[in-house]
């Protein structure tokens, strides 16, 4: 087994008296695809927000590639190789798809000091080439010159994830990549995302509500409940777990063909 790329120990987060996350200890080996499940408010997004530096944990440590990244600002963590996508795609609506991708590629390649980003050209040959490669990889090249504000939701999702990949991350956290997508489109969308990420050899953690998708695409599943991990194993093991069925997947399984049913 390879050394863990991400290692989280005893992670906890409180907001005042509210405990959003507690006692999370997880270690993820490189190139694994991990699904994260749990009902709303179970702490999945808090978990992702802590790893990406959006929230500072109140206790515990996060190591990425052996380096402690606990509490670093998000842009430092991003620069180290941890990227993320958002439940609501975070794109630049008044730019075209190509310009969005080009911006992402250029930002990731520019030196971060005061003068570095003034001296580096925006449309360098490298960033343009990377932008076009990513558009192909995520199969959105035919939207290249479309303004991002007019894109359908599925393309927005792909663009958002593609932009996160532009910085050549080793670890990518996807917050509900299929939310807001119709059931018919979900599988195709995940197929495109996952094959692109495999192609780039990126370790993935993705939050997902649809158990069929989790089973199909994850090699390992973490089940969150009440701020902590209650089950951790292969999809078959985790989804067979009695507490997971009682607390998370059970009610969902009764929903019509994977439609989101909140507990």
């Amino acid at each position: 087994m390879s050394a863990p790329i991400l290692s989280v120990r005893d992670l906890g987060k409180r907001f005042g008296s509210m405990v959003a996350a507690r006692d999370i200890t997880v270690s993820v080996p490189a190139h694994q695809t991990v699904g994260v499940i749990g009902s709303n408010g179970a702490g999945k997004t808090t978990f992702i927000n802590m790893i990406t530096g959006h929230l500072r944990p109140t206790r515990g440590t996060i190591d990425f590639e052996g380096r402690d990244i606990t509490g670093l600002p998000s842009r430092r963590i991003t620069a180290m190789g941890v990227s993320r996508s958002f439940q609501v795609p975070q794109i630049f609506p008044s730019l075209t798809v190509f310009e969005n991708m080009c911006a992402a590629a250029a930002i990731c390649r520019a030196p971060k000091n005061f003068l570095g980003h003034v001296r580096t050209p925006f449309r360098s040959r490298e960033s343009v080439a990377e932008a076009d490669t990513l558009l192909e990889l995520f199969q959105i090249a035919r939207y290249r010159d479309t303004l991002a504000v007019t894109l359908p939701q599925g393309v927005r999702k792909l663009l958002d994830i593609g932009m996160a990949v532009a910085g050549a991350p080793r670890l990518l956290l996807l917050d509900e990549p299929t939310s807001g997508i119709s059931i018919e489109e979900k599988f195709n969308l995940m197929q495109v995302i996952m094959s692109a990420l495999r192609h780039r050899k990126i370790t993935v953690l993705f939050v997902e509500h649809d158990m069929e998708i989790v089973e199909r695409f994850a090699q390992r599943v973490l089940a969150f409940y009440d701020g902590t991990v209650i089950a951790d194993g292969t999809p078959a093991e985790t989804l067979a777990d009695a507490r997971v069925q009682a607390l998370i997947s059970g009610p969902r399984a009764r929903g019509a063909s994977g439609a989101v049913v909140h507990v």
Binding site: T52, S74, I107, K112, H117, P121, F122, L147
Partner: protein, 317 residues
């Protein structure tokens, strides 16, 4: 290629502007000198504008640049116009760097009002400082140019040419900045700061850089205006001065670099003619021009010549 066409057109414009000084009457040269000096300030405002930031306090840098020139001239006897302009720009840039630590944290109306407040603090200080002539201000020495000390019409032309040269260099540099990562990220910053941060770039640092650039340009504009007018007073820091720069920016449009100067020239001309023709109602005429610009040219005069790139791309199938 479109780019070469643009360079050729800009060079032709510059050459025409330079040659025009040989035939135009003195008052027109003065008007154009002030207009182009103010154009530098507008260029700085455009740098911020593209990132969605409207500064109602550019007069702060304008005034600092002007007073720096006046004071350095008074204290050291330095008269070289280029050196003085650089000193004016440099001191305003330094101040922009300092206040940038505060301003870069604010957006939208808070940014606008805070920048306005800073310029009004300077105004208040200058009005109370009797050694600097309080509300009357004081006069600025006549500039020289690398040892050449012209008078009257020759002085006007020499200063005009210097201003033109500085504007051309500034336009080139700012154009290059717009193509750099830091400059091109203005629209992404306006659109979505979260994404910029999560791509690993500090939004406030990007904005801080823009503030320093706009401060430098503002100071340089103020310095040259002070040399052209031969006098500085606290009104250079008053909020109506800032308002004028915002007015010109709306008139010019933030799409590219050259319209800043064309817009500034148009503004000064309209104001002069309005003042001459309708001494009682000139503000009304200016107001109407602004209204018509917003109604019919929301992207400014610049959109008549070059439509903003993002618009053009949007219309491609």
């Amino acid at each position: 290629m479109a780019k070469q066409g643009r360079i050729a057109a800009s060079s032709a414009l510059l050459a025409a502007a330079a040659v025009a000084a040989l035939v135009l009457p003195g008052w027109m040269i003065s008007l154009a000198t002030i207009a182009f000096a103010n154009g530098l300030v507008v260029l700085g405002l455009i740098v911020l504008w593209r990132a969605g930031l409207v500064s109602f306090g550019q007069a702060l840098y304008y005034c600092i640049g002007a007073y720096a020139v006046a004071l350095v001239g008074r204290w050291t006897g330095m008269t070289d116009a280029l050196v003085l302009a650089l000193i004016g720009g440099g001191s305003a840039g330094l101040v922009a760097f300092g206040v940038g630590f505060l301003l870069a944290r604010y957006r939208e109306i808070f940014f606008a009002m805070l920048s306005l407040a800073l310029s009004m603090i300077l105004y208040g200080l200058l009005v109370k400082t009797e050694s600097l002539g309080s509300t009357d201000g004081f006069s600025v020495i006549a500039p020289t140019f690398f040892g050449y000390a012209p008078h009257q019409q020759a002085l006007l032309v020499a200063l005009y040419w210097l201003v033109l040269a500085i504007c051309a260099v500034a336009a080139l540099l700012v154009g290059a900045y717009f193509r750099s990562v830091g400059g091109a990220l203005a629209i992404p910053l306006r659109d979505n700061e979260i994404r910029v941060e999560f791509l690993g770039m500090s939004a406030s640092r990007l904005i801080h850089t823009k503030l320093v650039i706009s401060g430098l340009l503002g100071g340089m504009g103020g310095a040259l205006a002070a040399l052209a007018v031969g006098h500085v007073d606290p009104n250079m820091s008053y909020w109506t001065t800032s308002g004028e720069f915002v007015f010109i920016t709306i008139l010019a449009g933030a799409g590219s670099v050259v319209p800043a100067f064309v817009g500034s020239l148009a503004f000064e001309s309209v104001r002069s003619f309005a003042f001459a023709m309708l001494p009682q109602l000139w503000q009304m005429l200016l107001g109407s021009v602004l209204l018509l610009t917003i109604l019919f040219l929301p992207q400014g005069l610049g959109s008549l010549i070059m439509r903003p790139r993002w618009r053009r791309d949007a219309e491609a199938p």
